[in-house]
Subunit: 196 residues, 4 copies
DNA sequence: AATGAATGAGACTTCATTCAT
DNA sequence: TATGAATGAAGTCTCATTCAT
């Protein structure tokens, strides 16, 4: 029950996330994951069939947390523009504050492991059939304030810049302060909003 | 003399590009590169000090070709908006027609190999000190039609969506026809153009 | 529990000593050491960082045993001459009975591996700062029966002939029986003793 | 005829001697020998069947030069003691001035390559059946000033200390000045001379 | 005769996975 | 249930040797 008495499986997942994010899948020997998690190598294979399954499990954990964070920041009472800016802002902030999660996702999606998940992308078409806040916004009632574009373009204009900026932030090329985040969200909105 | 009688070094580079793009650096044993290139393993080490140097050499080859393609599509007589759309269009088209190059670059930049090149990003700050067409546009005379934003944001709004869409195109989620490309370029422009 | 159930690390060390002595460092592939030791290749790397470390470990093992053998043969009650002859005799006998150790040491000292240990030479300046029986004899109270010579010359006149003879013995050119050993020890003593 | 127009075979031999002495047989790739010699790799194989044959050829060259140097320093008119000291002195001086030759010989004799030549030792039983100055001295007319010892012991007391000191000299542990050489030669003589 | 590009056997080393304890 | 010693397949790289030019 206590913090130190976590599920052994969770200990492994957190250790794996850290290692994978810092060193990449291929530079993270299972033995290293084990010692970082404070468990024996063999134990990893009790909870996960093999290294691949562990990688997918880390993805599921990270993705769930991200979905939850975004969903939590929804506010149905806001206007389309405000809600969009709010969602973008919280997504950027969450990932900027959780660089390991971001690095892991980047690596996962650009590797053979993420091939299957390509359709699901960062936030779109969340697992379990539940739609996601962004897609709701693009096609819900508030969509009348948007230009009529294909979904992939909405997604590209929304997530593309975010990912790009987060990479720069990780590299230390840019600091994602509130002003910049605000500018980013507004620019994205301008890209997809209906002409007035 | 014949077309098939290329430089052995080039044979290796092309084979490596193909393998790396399809399988990733870590799933492309040197022995496999060699047999795809139709040369002996040892020959690869005649031309490249080690696998790392080969990877960097492939990058240089791919990056040079990309730079050339973009530069060739410049047209100084166009207005800011038209030039921007033209540049974005040719970048998308080039990378969509050269998926191996795109996959390679994605992988390269998100790996330790590309760490040094982070600053230089896809097109920005091209090697050799020569500035690049996009940066010229963001800060040249035509920049008065743009909102005043920090460079990283210009770059994010321009390249972020492109990269995102190209990934979707590779996954077969979207077809980058002329209409979609035009919509993309215009949306990006709207994101960064000065309010009228 | 049984005698054959030694430390796996020792199994490897003994196998390595044998191979190195017979075939030399460069003609003893790790795979061969492994199969001679009856372990998997990977196991060697569990106990030793790399082949170099294994080589140094074999040296330490061999050198320790040699030091112990010589020290055990000391007898402080003997006169200078008698003690010298006793030490030389036991050194020759030990190395003649342990040809693999001798071959290993020869090879080790004349290779880059032994470069650091050059100063320490066969017996001189034993590790751990403790002086060695020979040096004690050259400079202790009994030294008055010796000519006044620089240390390197004492060492050369003592160990040089021993090494030379041991090589001949290994080659089968000579048999190191008691008589020859006695003659050798006396000749060495005559080389360094004070004129009467 | 000119110095630069040497036999190509000699160019290779000298380059090989240098490389082997400095880096050892196993760290001297044939390609490196070739470039040091200023010839193509293939040329080495015109003059020497393979690397082993080259190594043996270098030995022959070095050994011949050494024999010649010693023989040249003979002086039949000297007394036994004086001649011995003269021979030892010139041997030490020659090898101390030719460290590459010494290093090569050390390496050669302590490797599988020198296994066959074990009988011939440094100077003893020179090739071609010609006896050598030291052996002549040990068993010729002047031998009456010597104790009656087996040949291997004469050799051991003569060459053992020399080799030992030369190693120390190479390591920089000792400087072989005239005084030390004289002391060495005299000590060796005392080891084998007849009791007076 | 001379060259050096090309080759591939073989060396060292890593690491995912198993299994006896 | 948990462990970690043991394994060997597979990867990177070197270098002696060949052979077409």
């Amino acid at each position: 029950m206590s913090v130190t008495q976590q599920n052994k499986s969770d200990l492994i997942l957190y250790a794996a996330l850290e290692q994978f994010a810092e060193n990449g899948f291929h530079s993270s020997p299972v033995s290293q994951l084990a010692s970082l998690a404070g468990v024996g190598v063999g134990s990893i294979y009790r909870y996960f069939k093999d290294k691949d399954e562990l990688i997918h499990a880390v993805f599921t954990m990270v993705d769930d947390a991200l979905q939850k964070a975004i969903t939590a920041s929804m506010n149905p009472e806001l206007s389309g523009r405000s809600e969009f800016i709010q969602l973008v802002t919280s997504l950027i902030q969450y990932l900027d504050k959780h660089p390991q999660e971001f690095k892991f996702l980047e690596q996962y999606y650009s590797s053979p492991y993420g091939a299957d998940k390509k359709r699901a992308k960062f936030l779109c078409e969340g697992r379990g059939g539940s739609s996601n806040p962004f897609v709701d916004l693009f096609f819900g009632n508030k969509a009348k304030s948007l230009k009529d574009l294909p979904l992939p373009l909405y997604l590209a204009m929304t997530f593309g810049p975010i990912i790009f900026l987060l990479r720069d932030s990780l590299s230390g090329l840019v600091t994602l302060d509130e002003a910049l985040i605000q500018q980013t969200a507004e620019a994205s909105w301008n890209a997809i909003k209906a002409e007035n």
